[in-house]
């Protein structure tokens, strides 16, 4: 038996919407402290999987364990230890960045909230944005504000949906550095869905590829390249998407 602890464990996870199968027989384990990528084309089941891990979607069947606890029974205790960021779930546009962080700081019961907000603002270089409305920020600034929200409670598990989507290369690189530093400093686990193969190769210890709701390949980036005899993950991704493998 392995000594590795897992931040996420799913067993035979399945989700159907009106008879259409979005995720099927999903059994996976994400090692504690790892950065794991969830890859797949549109409709592969990534967002559905993320939604189930966040407790926003109820699985049709199967079991989810996060941070050693059963999600179905301890959803609220788990929710206080995890956090997420997604470009598809917004923060209120009419509130300033500081107001949004204050609201979520209370929801997550963050101790010494104002100090925490100032600390994160410095880390994420958003001090100048704190009193601006979220809706007036650029895509890059919104991503940083959203990341500040996702780090407010110093999560042990961070779920990210396309963390660098619509960012310029410089900002995207900066975000990747920040996330890797967070993992290195805190030992937290990062589980992210991404379409950016360069990002995945650079950041991730483990890659899970999904297609039609099921896992079709899994391993460290270098292992996948060797197994599929490709130069980069993008080629592996395209081959899987086009059924060339």
């Amino acid at each position: 038996m392995s000594d590795v602890k897992h931040s996420i464990r799913t067993t035979d996870l399945r989700k159907e919407f009106d008879g259409t199968v979005a995720v099927q027989s999903l059994t996976l384990a994400v090692a504690e402290g790892s950065i794991t990528a969830l890859l797949g084309g549109n409709g592969a089941g990534k967002s559905t999987t993320m939604g189930m891990l966040l407790g926003l979607l109820q699985p049709t069947s199967g079991h989810i364990e996060m941070l050693g606890r059963n999600l179905a029974k301890d959803r609220h205790a788990i929710a206080s230890l995890i956090n997420f960021s997604s470009p598809y779930v917004d923060l209120p546009n009419r509130l300033t960045v500081r107001q949004n962080l204050t609201v979520y700081g209370h929801l997550y019961a963050v101790p010494k909230l104002h100090e925490r907000i100032d600390d994160l603002a410095a880390r994420l270089q958003i001090q100048d944005l704190l009193d601006r409305r979220h809706g007036t920020l650029s895509a890059g600034q919104r991503t940083r504000a959203s990341l500040a929200k996702s780090l407010l409670n110093a999560p042990r598990l961070l779920l990210l949906d396309e963390p660098t989507a619509s960012l310029d290369p410089d900002t995207a690189d900066w975000v990747r550095e920040l996330l890797m530093t967070y993992r290195a400093e805190t030992g937290a686990t990062i589980f992210m869905a991404s379409h950016n193969m360069y990002e995945v190769e650079r950041m991730c210890d483990d890659v899970i590829m999904m297609k039609r709701g099921a896992i079709v390949a899994r391993g460290a980036p270098n292992d996948l390249l060797a197994r599929f005899e490709r130069e980069n993950l993008e080629e592996v991704f395209i081959d899987i998407a086009r059924d060339n493998i």
């Binding site: 926003l56 109820q58 230890l81 997604s86 209120p92 209370h106 110093a154």
Partner: protein, 277 residues
């Protein structure tokens, strides 16, 4: 960066009151930053009082019976606003999250359903108090009608009507959770649905028989009946207020059960992730 905490650390530091405060702050910030929202909040109750107050004055001049008729009408209007504004505030509280695509963030946080309902109730009470106060002032200065003339019964009337607004507002939010944005217009419509059955300005006997049966099932009807009796004879119908309270309790239990089921249904269908502008 701060080290990740443990479950036991957080259990001590996560009182429901703090989560409810977070929800209230979210909406307070919104109103503080938006003067059109503030004006809208007070505009409709004031307009209703002014317009229907003048209508009642015109009728009084035509038919006579000055005091009883105007007082019944204005009393019904002002107390009816307490009920309607609570209900509408609950609908707005929910819709603001849908419009800003924020439901996913909220319900992925440690927020519990009971916290959410607590936030809904606290915010709606606060918002309706702020929105009806100017209407009370308008009634005093334009029509010489002082709401305080209901004396010790007034807090009971307002509390029971707010209570009625809470459970009916919870049902409306449940409807939206269950059926999504397609039901939004239904939500706004339902905000006024119960009012005619409660007979705020007229005797219940005026309603057709089948409507009267519905009327006596609603807590608000008993409050308005007591109010009308008080205007006419000075007597407060405490037994009616008791019935209103018990009915409110019963309907609250049912509406919370329906709300929890609707939430489960939204988690099954993906409604919490998909709802947005």
């Amino acid at each position: 960066m701060t080290s990740p905490a443990t479950i036991s650390d957080r259990a001590v530091l996560t009182p429901p009151a703090r989560r409810i405060l977070g929800l209230i702050l979210r909406h307070m910030y919104l109103y503080m930053e938006s003067w059109p929202r503030l004006i809208e909040m007070m505009y409709w109750p004031m307009l209703n009082i002014a317009m229907f107050g003048f209508v009642s004055l015109a009728m009084v001049r035509h038919f006579g019976k000055v005091d009883v008729m105007t007082d019944t009408y204005l009393g019904g209007l002002l107390l009816g606003e307490a009920f309607a504004r609570v209900q509408i505030a609950m609908l707005i509280f929910y819709m603001e999250e849908v419009w800003s695509r924020n439901l996913g963030h909220l319900f992925a946080s440690p927020l519990r359903l009971r916290d959410y309902l607590g936030g809904l109730m606290a915010f709606s009470a606060l918002r309706s108090l702020i929105s009806i106060f100017p209407a009370y002032v308008v009634a005093y200065f334009l029509f010489d009608f002082n709401i305080l003339k209901f004396g010790m019964a007034l807090p009971f009337y307002i509390a029971l009507l707010c209570f009625n607004g809470w459970w009916s507002g919870t049902l409306i939010v449940s409807l939206l959770l269950r059926f999504g944005l397609a039901a939004e217009w239904l939500g706004w419509m339902c905000s006024w649905l119960l009012m005619p059955f409660m007979a705020p300005y007229y005797p219940v006997e005026i309603l057709p028989k089948p409507f009267q049966a519905i009327s006596w099932l609603l807590p608000g009807t008993y409050v308005f009946e007591s109010m009308k009796e008080q205007v006419a004879t000075g007597a407060i119908r405490f037994e009616y207020l008791g019935i209103a309270f018990l009915l409110n309790i019963a309907y609250s239990i049912i509406s919370i059960w329906i709300f929890a089921r609707s939430f489960r249904s939204a988690r099954k269908s993906g409604g919490l992730l998909q709802m947005g502008e």
